[in-house]
């Protein structure tokens, strides 16, 4: 490689753009995806606890049942649903639809609103079924 001493032109950085809903949701999609990547291990370990002895299961249940565990699970639920709705948004865009300014905005805001609403719904159902 040649020793480059002069300042080469670089592409614009994230920080020079005005923050827009589509941009925030794009960043959120990657962050939630990365979080789910590590969360999948928790899920596998929970299954492992179920396959183990009752005391191992109780240990896992005590963790997920604690306020910290519940906080993790609540965050996991929202992260999952947000990434899923974000993915559906991308699938819509893959067809070439939804690229008008208003549509883009609606899809971006809808992803956030939808994920929050669905999270509440999932947890409400879980608690109702628990009785």
């Amino acid at each position: 490689m040649a020793d480059v001493k002069f300042q080469r032109p670089i592409s614009p950085h994230l920080s020079i753009y005005r923050l827009s809903p589509t941009m925030v949701m794009s960043i959120m999609h990657r962050i939630t995806g990365a979080a789910l990547y590590f969360g999948s291990l928790l899920l596998a370990l929970w299954l492992l606890a179920v396959s183990g002895s009752v005391s191992q299961f109780d240990f896992a249940n005590a963790f997920f049942g604690s306020w910290f565990g519940q906080f993790i699970l609540l965050g996991y639920t929202w992260t999952l649903l947000h990434h899923m709705l974000g993915g559906i948004r991308h699938l819509i865009w893959d067809t070439g639809a939804g690229f008008e300014p208003k549509e883009r905005q609606l899809l971006a805001v809808g992803t956030l609103a939808g994920s929050l609403a669905l999270t509440v719904l999932v947890w409400a159902f879980a608690y109702l079924l628990k009785g």
Binding site: S40, L41, L80
Partner: protein, 124 residues
């Protein structure tokens, strides 16, 4: 026998073609169905006792669905993390090490899940 043009046609600037893009979309669509079903299963067993959960997960339909969900999700997240690594890690040796770790991690998570489901279904 391929002409030089035939060798590169359809591969794009990354020389990898659309295989990665396609697999991400294929598993994304599968995930919508499988993860939704998995969520419903988890909600239905939340707060249940050990025996009850084991009984639910021993249902062949539920067990196969969870295995399918892990297969699709892990494939999806492995190539997703691959893109993140390729985007942000530019030191070649670190990039290669992280790409390897990505595959090892994904396989480890998958093996834990498969082992657990098989044990719940056949080994208890």
């Amino acid at each position: 026998m391929k002409t030089p043009l035939g060798n590169v046609r359809g591969l794009g600037s990354a020389h990898a073609g659309t295989g990665h893009f396609w697999l991400q979309r294929l598993t994304a669509v599968a995930n919508i169905v499988l993860v939704t079903a998995f969520l419903i299963i988890v909600v239905s067993i939340a707060g249940s006792g050990h025996a009850e959960i084991v009984a639910k997960l021993s249902n062949p339909f539920v067990a196969i669905l969870i295995l399918a969900a892990f297969l699709s999700v892990l494939t999806h997240m492995r190539i997703g993390m691959q893109v993140i690594i390729e985007d942000y890690v530019h030191t070649e040796i670190r990039k290669i090490a992280l790409l390897m770790a990505n595959t090892f991690y994904t396989i480890a998570v998958g093996l834990i899940a498969v082992y657990a489901i098989l044990k719940i279904n056949f080994g208890l």
